[in-house]
Symmetry: C2
Subunit: 195 residues, 2 copies
DNA sequence: TATTTATGCAAGTACTTGCACGCATTATAG
DNA sequence: CTATAATGCGTGCAAGTACTTGCATAAATA
């Protein structure tokens, strides 16, 4: 990937996360990239080609991969915190807004599988973790796919809502949210064994 | 509101939730409404005016108001189920997609406060509920704004993810999700008192 | 019946869109 | 230094954009 093409991709992705795919024009992309508009079409097939190459670059994807969940301590509270924080640290408002900006019918079919990779990685890693905790006897056998979905939904939900509405919806900050949520989840999950 | 104007608004809102505000053209709106394009501009100031009148109509807002949370039974498990189900029944994929379609910089500033009303109504109603449950001695005093955010985030998150990815992300169905989530939340909230 | 009102229709405005071309200039590599 | 490739620039295009205008017609209202 040569420097000019990269500048074009970067400019396009930034504009898309600010105003969405449809509203982003090739003229704007060119101006933002500091190149002439026709250069876009020499480097890329068309506008769609630019963003498809963009979403396939590691730099334009939130770095939420299964291996960030590797160093678990098999301590429920500590691990839940790690899972939630790992997602929130990597899924910044920028990535949330980019995901939304890519939600154009013209390309959603092609980008959705990529966007979905992050939730899928989180869910499968976390379900695995719960299963192993169950095998270790730390938590009771439960519907782990459903509970993993609950935990992820609350993690994703907070991230998305914060990115969308900022402090106008809630003044609860990230650390306060993680602390209280994890405490409740940990108790909700482990309590069953105590009975 | 005369019949023609209503047809125009309805057509516009449906198109917007399918392809977003920017990608929806006035020509399409007119065709979908079965009227001539120039009629749009006789009835409304401009394209933006159409959707602003739309979002201000009750029919184009998810009917999540504080009073649907009124008939609480002061039974934690039952009430949590009611809260979550009330939101999910009313916030259909259609409304989720409409909210996303309205996320255009040209009008987000004006629509965001309206879109935010639903989360705000949920959060404040639910925080009130937790406070009253605390006064009744059913649950221990905790950080209720944070925990309300957790509960709402998981409710919203599931709804949003299902609307976005359908069954491709998770096979966990609504009732299964509600049942397991509520059970964990109820235990996570009430358990503190047991100690 | 007479008059207002709502609408359709066709044409046209001014502007933007993605995209293509030729040509001059620069940077790079042999 | 020379040849090749990459780029900037202007121009142009066909189509599409939101929006307007003038006029005919039909329906509702007086």
């Amino acid at each position: 990937m040569d420097q000019t093409s990269q500048k074009i991709i970067d400019a396009a992705m930034i504009l898309i996360r600010e105003k969405g795919y449809v509203a982003t024009t090739t003229k704007e992309i060119a101006r933002a990239a500091g190149v002439n508009e026709c250069t876009l079409f020499r480097k890329f097939k068309n506008k769609k080609d630019i963003v498809l190459q963009g979403v396939n670059q590691a730099g334009w994807r939130a770095n939420v991969t299964p291996d960030i969940f590797k160093n678990v301590k098999w301590d429920l509270q500590a691990d839940l915190e790690m899972f939630m924080r790992a997602y929130m640290d990597r899924m910044t408002p920028d990535f949330v807004n980019l995901s939304i900006g890519l939600r154009a019918p013209q390309l959603y079919e092609e980008t959705a599988p990529l966007i979905m990779q992050v939730p899928q990685a989180f869910l499968s890693s976390f379900t695995d973790y719960l299963n192993q905790m169950c095998e270790r006897g730390t938590i009771a056998p439960l519907d782990f796919p459903a509970l993993a979905m609950t935990f992820f939904s609350s993690t994703f939900g907070y991230t998305f809502l914060k990115a969308s509405f900022g402090d106008k919806l809630t003044k609860v900050e990230k650390e306060e949210y993680i602390k209280n949520s994890v405490q409740m989840f940990a108790k909700g999950l482990s309590q069953i064994l105590d009975e």
